[in-house]
Amino acid sequence: MRGYSAWALLRGGLGGHRHWSPAWRTPEPARHYDVVIVGGGGHGLASAYYLAKHHKVRVAVLEKAWLGGGNTGRNTTIVRSNYRLPALQGLLEHSLKLWEGLSDELNYNVMFSQRGALFLGHSDSDMTRLAERGDALRCAGIDAELMSREAVAKLVPLLDMSDRARFPIAGGMIQRRGGTARHDAVAWGYARAADALGVDIIQHCEVTGFDIAGGRVTGVQTSRGAIGADRVGIVVAGNSGHVAGLAGLRLPVESQLLQAFVTEPVKPMIDTVIMSQSVHCYISQSDKGEIVLGGDPDQYPTYSQRGEPMRIEEVAGQAIGLVPALSKLRMLRCWAGTTDMTCDGAPIIDETPVANLHINGGWCYGGFKATCGSGWVFADQLATGRVHDLARPFSLGRFAAGAMQDEAAVGPMPQAR
């Protein structure tokens, strides 16, 4: 792999930019691998990269379409680790630490920008809850800072701080180390680095079945023939229910839609990530200048990747209520991703009842921020056959055991998240 650097760019420019080569190979699938990963999104590619780097095993990533074409390319790119439950803190803080060194690690600029992740509080009770979460975070060694109403107004001057505001602002809590990253670059960076370590990335190769003998998986059937494997990892969040179904499994997952929206690009107006304790709307500005908006899922099962118009109205209304200046902007695009909504809102990282068949999914609408940490722990699991300590709370068996990781504390229905 040719390293990317300012010097290489300059030297290539002098030669008329004829030095560029494909960032990864397009290999034919081999007949057998130590590990086959189903799904070429951020999590699958990160898993493959850490597997090849730390465990020196022969890995293939099978992707039915193109790399990062699912939820990796459809999210609102927010990265943070300020969760309340210790299990989520552990996994996401590990992930955030990996994010902090990721561009250097991969020799690929993932444009990770620690511009801060701000949660607004709209009432005394919101502020009490934010303070409680902030205390818990600081006890766990994760940065959190409670902000007064005045400090919030100074950080985001365009917020409606008037006494007639639709969502009155009492203050906030910020994680300064949070921020955004370039989502496509994460998939491409992991793919390029994994390929350089010998991982076979095979696109347009859909898994159509699993070879199971005596309760153990021995390989996969694909649109490009059979491929044998000692271990198989399913990393297809959004389609976990469907793919696990090919192995005869039922998961605590409903596939639902989450939409995102961008406005036309404008000059810098919001230089942090705005979220809220009470309003489910999040606002940030991309490097291109577009305002990126997200909101609630569509709250019924669907794989269609087409969102409901009424959600656009709801999110736009909330965003304009928080930042009235947004009412002047035109909406440029909207799109939807199919998410695995689980019965407690937390992911699933475990070995399935089929031996050697592992699954990493159920990321609900919060998977992007976890990409690095999820890949790290899943690589360890696929190499050793044992679930990593950080992933153990996210077992399939937690529902029967009553050990749910319910961050939102809203009970067992997937659409209630």
């Binding site: 179904g245 039922r250 605590p252 997952v253 709250q299 019924y300 794989y303």
Partner: protein, 85 residues
């Protein structure tokens, strides 16, 4: 967004309705624990036709069984919910 043909109210916008749960997850109070956990916490989650319980929350408030395709959103059947079919 789609239209749902409510047996009481006729075709109405989906926005008036609330998805409740897949029919397969409905259980009675005397269900044995193991089966109850299975019903409450697992889903077939088909990429295809799904039988679902919806509610006309902003209309007549009737509970409806809707058979619906989860990719195309084509509705195959709508009927008033009958808990003992």
């Amino acid at each position: 967004m789609f239209l749902i043909d409510c047996p009481h109210c006729g075709p109405r916008a989906q926005a008036e309705f609330v998805f409740e749960r897949p029919v397969e997850t409905i259980f009675s109070v005397d269900t044995p624990t193991a089966e109850l956990v299975e019903k409450l916490y697992t889903r077939t989650n088909p990429r295809g036709v799904s039988a679902e319980l919806w509610r006309h929350a902003r209309g007549c408030r009737a509970w409806l069984r809707i058979d619906r395709h989860t990719v195309t959103h084509v509705i195959i059947a709508v009927a008033l919910w009958n808990p003992a079919p």
